[in-house]
């Protein structure tokens, strides 16, 4: 029957997959216990405000973009544009619909972002790859312009900014750092669970099939255009919710400028560094991108005794990101998450080298 040469690499490849399935739930439960139980006890306001909240929101945004780019193969550089839609839509809903609970406003903002994402996804029927990316770039600039140009979106505030009119859930005020942290954590956990369901379902397989080879997907009966648009819509829903959380749970006050092209690139870097087509990768990528500046700052303090200019540190940070992006794209397109799983694989068989 089958020759030995076939079975050898297969046995090697299938081992980590099995390992992952059995071990993941325990690690995950421990992580959730820490996030919900320990962090609120131990975390101080600085950690919650400056590190954990942005980390979680960026993870969620990365997740949204990853569904479109990592799973469906449609590269987008307009992520922040859809975040802006979510932020401004949630703001509008909270402002203009009296008594609307916060969760519903977030979902509503996400749905409006999904609708806008769906519209910008229509060209994907005809346009592929680089050219599609350019249309998402157009979406980014167009949306930013819309939220600057029309004062209705920011309720005619002279500053052009929005801030949440109310931030409460079932009578609890969520303005404290801990309240905002729990709001963000709850949203992220819930939406991550949905995303895991999605990518393991037939919908997720259809997306990955389109990513890997769209002509073959059509031949076996997958409605390619419909699923591409669905990916745009779902991705934009996630980005929309992330945008609203970014504006109200992290920044407090935001404007169209909070969602500029740099933010879009930041989200794209998160998924490239973390891992395309991986749910956990978004969290690893977001952790990396939010912790690296802090580490660099600390390193600067230690090595140079605080004599280093903050601007230069920022430049250094950009250089490091640039080098890493190139390195990951060339050497490890599956990102940090792949490196971590390789490491775990090696540790599992550690004393034996072969």
């Amino acid at each position: 029957m089958t020759t030995l040469s076939h079975s050898l690499p297969a046995a090697h490849d299938s081992a980590p997959v099995e390992l992952l399935r059995r071990r993941l739930p325990w690690g995950l439960l421990a992580l959730l216990a820490v996030a919900f139980g320990l962090v609120p006890w131990l975390g101080n306001d600085y950690w919650l405000n400056a590190i954990l909240i942005p980390f979680l929101v960026l993870s969620l945004a990365g997740l949204g973009l990853n569904l479109l780019t990592g799973y469906t193969g449609q590269t987008s550089v307009g992520a922040a544009g859809f975040m802006a839609v979510g932020a401004f839509a949630t703001y509008g809903l909270l402002l203009r619909v009296p008594g609307l609970p916060l969760p519903l406003a977030l979902v509503g903002g996400g749905l409006i972002a999904a609708g806008v994402g769906f519209l910008f996804g229509i060209p994907s029927n005809r346009i592929k790859g680089f050219y599609l990316m350019v249309t998402t770039l157009a979406a980014q600039f167009f949306l930013e312009w819309v939220f600057t140009k029309f004062p209705w979106f920011y309720n005619y505030a002279s500053s052009g900014t929005i801030s949440a009119p109310r931030l409460e859930l079932l009578g609890h005020d969520l303005h404290s750092p801990l309240g905002r942290y729990l709001l963000v954590l709850g949203s992220v956990v819930l939406l991550t669970w949905v995303a895991v369901n999605l990518v393991r379902s037939q919908i997720g397989r259809n997306w990955m099939a389109i990513r890997d080879m769209d002509t073959a997907a059509a031949v076996i009966g997958i409605p390619v255009d419909r699923y591409k648009r669905l990916a745009f819509a779902v991705s934009s829903f996630y980005l929309g919710v992330a945008g609203a959380l970014w504006a109200f749970a992290y920044l407090g006050t935001a404007s169209a400028g909070s969602f500029d092209i740099n933010r879009s690139f930041q989200i794209l870097f998160i998924i490239i560094i973390g891992g395309m087509g991986s749910i956990a990768g978004n969290f690893v990528g977001a952790a990396f991108i939010s912790l690296l500046p802090l580490l660099l700052n600390q390193a600067g303090q230690w090595l140079l005794g605080g004599n280093v200019d903050a601007g230069q540190l920022q430049n250094l940070q950009k250089i490091i990101f640039g080098v890493l992006i190139i390195w990951f794209l060339v050497k490890e397109p599956e990102g940090l998450i792949r490196l971590l799983s390789n490491l775990r694989e090696r540790l599992a068989i550690w004393p034996l080298r072969f």
């Binding site: 490849d13 299938s14 379902s201 037939q202 397989r205 080879m213 997907a217 031949v219 009966g221 997958i222």
Partner: protein, 258 residues
């Protein structure tokens, strides 16, 4: 031969690429339940014909009759829905996905559960997922692919990839299976194995098969009906023995005696 006996009829199909005729007024019929082999030298128009049958190309003239329905052009999605399965010459698998996930994509058009049911993991969606998984396990067993079920397809040997592609087409329960060189690049043992799988599919599931193959030995052993193409024209049509005795076929393969 009555119409109902024919699952597929090709009538006066012509196709040209920028003025070069790939297929020239080609007609033949495939009977329900048979294995029909398309043979002919490179560039004879065999793959182009398969591409017309499942809607990847649009013919310049002629029509295709599938299950007594007439088509000027059939869309790929429509062809899949009506039960035409297909594999490709150079493998068109989803390389980063595992073997079982590749098979499961073949069931896409049978999926009933909606977006919310799937995203929230509702019982209906779970039941369907379980049922799909059982079907996929059945195919894995049938094609003896279990050792590789969770391996990314891109890392498999070429011959195994061909088998996965066959499985992906098969899982949807096609009535007509179009196989474009299912044994290309295989050694003798692998070819024999693949022939056995195709014969099993045909006998056990009753699937009609149209396949393209260059290895004449394999063709003669496997199929009961052979259609020979040369420069887009049909030069032979009949049982393997009839075709082998046809002087025009011999000329196409070995060159004419002057």
């Amino acid at each position: 031969m009555s119409i109902a006996e024919n699952i597929l009829e090709v009538r006066d199909i012509s196709l040209s690429f920028k003025g070069v005729k790939a297929i020239d007024a080609l007609s033949f019929a495939v009977r329900r339940g048979e294995i029909c082999a398309l043979i002919g030298p490179n560039g004879a128009g065999k793959s182009s014909l398969l591409n017309i049958l499942n809607g990847v190309y649009r013919p310049d003239a002629g029509e295709v009759v599938f299950e007594a329905e007439h088509f000027q052009r059939i869309q790929p999605l429509e062809a899949a829905r009506r039960g035409i399965g297909r594999t490709f010459q150079n493998n068109a698998l989803f390389k980063k996905m595992s073997v079982i996930d590749n098979l499961l994509t073949g069931l896409s058009r049978h999926a009933q559960s909606g977006f919310l049911a799937q995203s929230l993991g509702l019982p209906g969606a779970r039941r369907e997922a379980r049922q799909f998984r059982e079907q996929a396990e059945g195919i894995l067993e049938f094609l003896e692919l279990q050792p590789w079920r969770d391996v990314a397809v891109g890392s498999l040997a070429y011959g195994l990839q061909k088998r996965v592609e066959l499985g992906r087409a098969l899982i949807a329960g096609p009535r007509l299976l179009l196989l474009d060189e299912p044994m290309a690049g295989m050694n003798a043992a692998e070819k024999q194995e693949m022939s056995r799988f195709i014969a099993d599919v045909n006998r056990d599931l009753g699937t009609t098969v149209v396949l393209i193959e260059h290895d004449i030995q394999v063709v003669m052993g496997l199929s009961g009906h052979v259609v020979v193409l040369d420069y887009g024209r049909k030069v032979g049509d009949g049982t393997p023995a009839e075709v082998q005795a046809n002087p025009e076929v011999i000329a196409a393969y070995l060159g004419t005696v002057h």
